[in-house]
Symmetry: D2
Subunit: 139 residues, 4 copies
């Protein structure tokens, strides 16, 4: 079984739109926070440290699929259940199941890469092999 | 051919993260803006007016798939090409191709619904049949 | 002494800009969350309930002053100390001291109003007298 | 007379909260965009270039005062009038008047600094003297 770490979110007034439900881009903000929270919870150092030690500056998303089952509104307490169910050659799948207690609100599967700065293009990034020490911490 | 409307975005400093690239949840903010911009460009009134005339309070996303091809950074001018390639019974597909000139940055296909307030649950929403007058404006 | 309630914030990667420090508009997001959190902590119901019972739909800001003393970055744990040091006729002062342990990061004083829907202008709002039951809960 | 540059903003659905007005932290997002837009309009290069040429990585805010006069909602077109009315030794005042046609929505005065990376503290920043070439471009 893949390790699972829960990221709690309290939905706030300003997270909701005039229809009084969470404005959906906010779910992707929380998903990215939950992704970082997962790595931190597994013992992976912050990216500005891994940049120095292994050249990793982050884990950008290359592909994302999400389904929304129920709406959420302010005052709701949500739990983002995060895991990495699949490791591939240069990419990995990060999975989020978002619950409000026993109600499932949404789910999302992402493909992410470990990247470093591009050797020649300023502002460019390039994919790295998955660092074995990070994978070991997260499995 | 489905109608296509372009939503321009200028990427700003604060849209980028410490890796100096657009923090990806911002793409979903722009996508939702681009969706509204499409309806406005087609002549659909704002949701607080359609709420009175046809009960529509918005078009929440139930399903979204996105792929990211290239990174973008501040100073970039992006063009979100928006169209509705498919109308189903109670849902429709909204498509976004995000370009920086001739470079494709990302693409996204969403399934959205037209919804109104739920007749009995406070804060609840319910799916509506697709209003024919809106469909006619957008095709 | 005015009641004080602490709102904790964990600074995330996506809250930071390419200079690797918190992009300052995010402080105002957290401040508004901390404001709601204060009212909830004092026992004030959500605005969609107060709308029905006393006509209050929110507490918009009319005036804000903030000073920034130190920068914060991702991985930091911040504490927003919130209080209402002053009640005026139709407005009140909401104060935020933002700490990272013993380091003060910023401070902010806002003037806010209790508002309801405008009786005649659609989308308009109007200031209300401060509801005594809310004031009693928050002092 | 100080140079003035106008930054246009189209208020979107997702910028508004359940009270159907702009959620105020969004004004600070736009203000920061308007600040960058001012420098770009004056001919100042992006910060990742000035970092190399003069060590400037950005202009963080140390002090901000804002007053809100009228609310705005989605569909509104706003104009942010930006200028630098005052240059001090190591800081400068950036002013924003936010109009919707002839209606003033808000105003904001900020004190900002030019900063570079701290010579010894990782992630630290330090104030720089105001670069004369930037000041000349912006006056």
């Amino acid at each position: 079984m893949a390790k699972e770490i829960i990221y709690p979110v309290s939905v706030e007034f300003g997270d909701c739109d005039p229809a009084r439900i969470v404005w959906f881009p906010n779910f992707f903000r929380w998903i990215d926070h939950a992704s970082r929270h997962f790595f931190v919870g597994c013992g992976v150092p912050p990216w500005h440290e891994t940049e120095k030690t292994m050249g990793v500056i982050g884990t950008p998303v290359v592909d994302t699929k999400a389904r929304f089952f129920k709406t959420a509104t302010y005052g709701d307490a949500l739990q983002f259940h995060v895991s990495i169910p699949e490791w591939r050659g240069k990419s990995f799948v990060m999975r989020y199941r978002v619950m409000r207690g026993t109600d499932q609100i949404m789910e999302c599967d992402e493909v992410r890469l470990f990247v470093g700065r591009h050797p020649t293009e300023p502002n460019g990034i390039k994919a790295l092999d998955i660092p074995q020490e990070i994978r070991t911490l997260c499995e």
